[in-house]
């Protein structure tokens, strides 16, 4: 059976990649009105990257082939 930790890895990695991509887009094309406070910290870039790394690590460690 596929480990639950693998599903969690997929979830974190996909969400992390999407958030990171959105963050990089905003760095390259900064919006005129960001709509959030502390926009200058670009939280979606580093938070997305953190989620992507953790998710990828889970995916690798608990991949179904490796578990077998």
């Amino acid at each position: 059976m596929v480990s639950i930790w693998f599903f969690i890895g997929i979830s974190l990695a996909v969400n992390g990649a999407l958030i990171l991509a959105a963050g990089i887009y905003q760095v390259v094309y900064p919006p005129e009105n960001p709509g959030v406070v502390l926009f200058n910290l670009h939280a979606n870039v580093w938070w997305g990257a953190i989620l992507l790394v953790i998710g990828a690590a889970y995916c690798l460690k608990f991949a179904p082939r490796r578990q077998q």
Binding site: I4, I8, L38, L41, A43
Partner: protein, 567 residues
Amino acid sequence: MTQLLAIAVPTRLVHLSPIDVVIVVFYFVLVLSIGWYLKGRANTGEDFFMAGREMTAWVAGLSFLSANLGALELMGWAGSAYQYGILATHWYWIGAIPAMLFLALVMMPFYYISKTHSVPGYLKLRFGEPSRALSAVSFAFMTVLMSGVNMFAMAKVMQIVLGWDINFSIWVSSLTVAIYVTLGGLRSAIFNEVLQFFLIWAGALLIPILGLYEAGGWANLKVLIAQRASEQYVHLWSGLGSFSNNPMGINWVGIVFGLGAIISMGYWTTDFLVVQRILAAKDIRSAEMAPIIGAGFKMFVPIIVILPGLLGLAVLPEKLVPESVATLTGGHSYNDVLPLMLARYCGPGLLGLGVTALIAGFMSGMAGNVSAFTTVWTYDIYRPLINSKGTDHHYVNMGRWTTIVGVLISVGTAYLVMQFASIMDYVQALFSFFIAPLFGTVVLGMLWKRATSAGGFWGLLCGTLSSITMWTWVKIDPTALRYVALSPNAKGLAQDMFQALWSFLVCVLVTVVVSLATKPVPDGELSGLVYGLTEVPSVGDVPLYEKPLFWAALVTVVFVILNIIFW
């Protein structure tokens, strides 16, 4: 999805970007995929209702915690932190940690070795059919109401944050839960709860991080709160000497004995919604470790629930008001603080994850209620009282249909809940009705061999009735609160604490008196059910760092230190 977003009302807090919509949709696809993947592993009663009893300590422990991380946790307690300050943290620390450790070290061995499938099932073994029937019916009633509360809270958040129609939110979330629980049973619910646990942290942790940055750190946050509210909002214990010295209108007796010793013990040790996750553990050591792992994480949940409420008090430009006032003025209520903070800090992508975290929290609570309701209905009401001759396959089918029916009843309940002004007061009242007396009955059953079947039944019934009587008395005559809580300065939450305390004492008193007046149960019939007559199995010859007692001691030390730091 464009069509769905078009249902929106114009008062929405935020607008989801396409990337946010993708993240939300991906979450729904993933949880449904997990349910679909697990559908072939829910063919027997043991699989469908008990997840095959093969969960590791980590999976059972995180699921145990996640089932409790529902709508009330995320939105309600953030609102309570805004309203009452750091006092709301008591519900996470003294109102949870001792009870979870007590469950792990004292009660879990009895639940586990009796091989019961539910808490009412244990009452059947210990006190007989009447106690089981009373407990099962009251639990089923409570759990669908709780599920309705969850749905309503979720729909409200979706309305405030995204402008989604309240009916649309209720039906989409409830149908999703119905599908994945019907397909995969408890295993599917547990797997999704663990996933949801991670998503909740991933989506909510950024709010306190950015909030503390904006407020200038914890020390500056305390100064801001003292300026905008009161210095007592950041003290856990120092204002609890009397009812009038703290924003909650409660004293330390209510917190320690009402919340810590009764309500939390009742909830964390006898509420089948959470206990069911532990019963699915693969062995006795995992069953003991799971609540300890849950307790370890529970201590840090205030970071994503209480801290955003406190930060809202310090940094939000507008002043939030009670739900009843917000309804009249069109402003935002205390319960809106978490979505408001989410909108304040989270841009594209992060907003989608934050919204997903809220949805995940709501759905995990709902799935927990539905799966627990399904098991209790099938095993504790339908099988003993309606059809005791069905096959295992028949009961699994009954479980699947009950899941769907349970969701539909919950949807109906959600519409009823809309009539109540305060979500929290409503649920606290429910806890007091059933949970406190049930804890009295179960703990006496486990620890006192002289307790008899008649004593257990009448104690449970009288405790529950006393609780309902007190609640009704105060509802009819609010000045009666001074008698229930023993102070003219007591406020609403104090009533719940003292009501639970009295109903527990009534339950214990009646159980003791009736038991002493009736014939004792022979010791031989109590083996495996009562302390002193049961050989509790050892966790095995394992190193110190693998022993549940070691980790329980460590959690206790951290718990004490945290209370001293925030005294």
